[in-house]
């Protein structure tokens, strides 16, 4: 059993310079209260890992706005002009990764695999400086696993074991990130007693979740 902590308490666990994965797709399914708390405590030099940087004022965009971030690993930053501006100004370093490769690299990091062998990116700039393996006559890039110090998730329901459910397109990168960080913090719309979520409805095993963030901060 885990007691819920506040978003502020959670933000205090995350030191400056940490690497932080976050769920969300253009802000949908993102842990907004955790972002607010991190921005409020003035976190610095974070490496953030997620699909995109949403928009200014939305989702992880709040951390970009607040100057918390110096490095980004993402598949897309086109929706956030602040990210673009800071990248061009040299304030933020950006690594762009194809979306499916990003998902698999995080999956490899969380499931003990040594890397990902993907055809995506072969013959493009993504392949630069990477090993290419020929397997059965086709070329595959060897992409490295990704792990982070923290994963910040947004769930629909959580129970006090940490078991999580997601709603519709708000799942996106949340489930895979639960496997790939040393400390997993989940913010949810609801926290329910253990035994309320049916076993087949759980999408993230509670054993992966270190901290729950309660509804009221």
């Amino acid at each position: 059993m885990r007691k819920a902590i506040t978003a502020g308490e959670a933000a205090d666990l995350i030191p400056d310079g940490a690497s932080v994965m976050f769920g969300g797709f253009l802000g949908v399914g993102s842990p907004e209260r955790l972002f607010d708390a991190l921005a409020a405590r003035g976190a610095k030099r974070l490496t953030i890992i997620g699909n995109d940087t949403a928009r200014p004022g939305v989702g992880v965009g709040k951390l970009i706005d607040a100057g918390c971030v110096t490095r980004i690993i993402a598949s897309h930053i086109g929706t956030n002009p602040t990210t673009q501006k800071k990248m061009i100004a040299g304030e933020i370093d950006v690594e762009l990764v194809p979306q499916g490769t990003l998902a698999e690299r995080i999956r490899a990091g969380g499931s003990g695999l040594g890397g990902v062998l993907t055809p995506t990116g072969v013959g493009t700039t993504v392949a630069e400086d990477k090993r290419v393996l020929e397997i059965d006559g086709a070329d595959y890039l060897l992409e490295a696993p990704i792990r982070a110090d923290f994963a910040l998730l947004h769930a629909h329901e959580a129970d006090y074991f940490g078991n999580l459910t997601y709603r519709l397109t708000a799942a996106n990168f949340n489930p895979v990130m639960a496997f790939a960080a040393d400390c997993v913090i989940a913010e949810s719309d609801h926290i329910v007693p253990v035994g309320v979520i049916p076993p087949d409805a759980v999408r993230t095993p509670g054993v992966l979740v270190n901290h729950l963030v309660g509804r009221a901060c």
Binding site: I77, Q84, Q99, G100, T101, T120, T124, R167, A171, R203
Partner: protein, 219 residues
């Protein structure tokens, strides 16, 4: 019909019953409006849904139900939701029958560039590289030229999205098929002369004796 409608209605002719189709953001999304009556096509959005429909009435949007462009959508009967890992297992695994994507350039080898302009815009590839690599058919739906400059070129000057040869290029002027031997003109838009197509194309086109006029899905 304006250029975009010409393109969308011609691309819709490529749809087949039972297909799983992924439409890129922008022009390609227009194709969804032209699914022939009685045909069932399942649309995937790579953020995690198959079987979405038009935006719901105002005030009935669900913040957890959006497409890959972040727009609100509805769920049709039989819709299913899944995470990003599953979404790209579908895409890279060859389970998406067709993707329709916008393009900045296509070259004589059929290679597509659509994700960045060095020194100008670097939005990132999002799911495009996986889609072009993994979908069974890749249809490029784009205007034939950009500010008077051909987008169909001999050799890409922009970074490619994938090494793979795309299946078909549909513009408001022509339908062009990249083949092992280069680009082949397949159809011309109504009242467009072959000379006009050649003049607006920056790569060699092989022109068969008969170039039929484009057909369209009814509007």
């Amino acid at each position: 019909m304006d250029a975009k409608e010409v393109i969308a209605r011609r691309v819709a002719l490529e749809l087949r019953d039972g297909m799983l189709v992924n439409l890129g953001i922008g022009l390609p999304t227009l194709v969804a409006a032209y699914v022939p009556d009685g045909m069932h096509v399942a649309f995937q959005s790579e953020n995690g849904i198959i079987g979405f429909g038009a935006p719901p009435p105002q005030g009935m949007e669900d913040p957890n139900l959006t497409d890959a462009g972040g727009g609100f959508i509805s769920a049709l009967p039989g819709a299913i939701a899944f995470d990003s890992v599953t979404s790209f297992a579908l895409i890279r695994g060859g389970h998406v029958d067709m993707t329709v994507l916008g393009g900045l350039q296509v070259d004589s080898k059929g290679r597509l560039a659509n994700w960045m302009v060095p020194g100008k815009i670097v939005p990132g590839m999002g799911g495009a590289m996986d889609l072009v690599t993994g979908a069974k058919r890749v249809i490029v739906a784009m205007q034939h030229s950009a500010k008077g400059a051909p987008k169909i070129v001999e050799e890409l000057t922009l970074p490619p999205t994938a090494a793979r040869r795309v299946s078909l290029i549909v513009t408001e002027l022509a339908v062009i098929e990249p083949t092992e031997d280069g680009l082949a003109l397949r159809e011309r838009a109504p009242s467009v002369e072959i000379e006009e197509i050649i003049a607006n194309t920056g790569a060699k086109l092989s022109i068969p004796a008969h170039v039929p006029e484009m057909a369209f899905i009814a509007g």
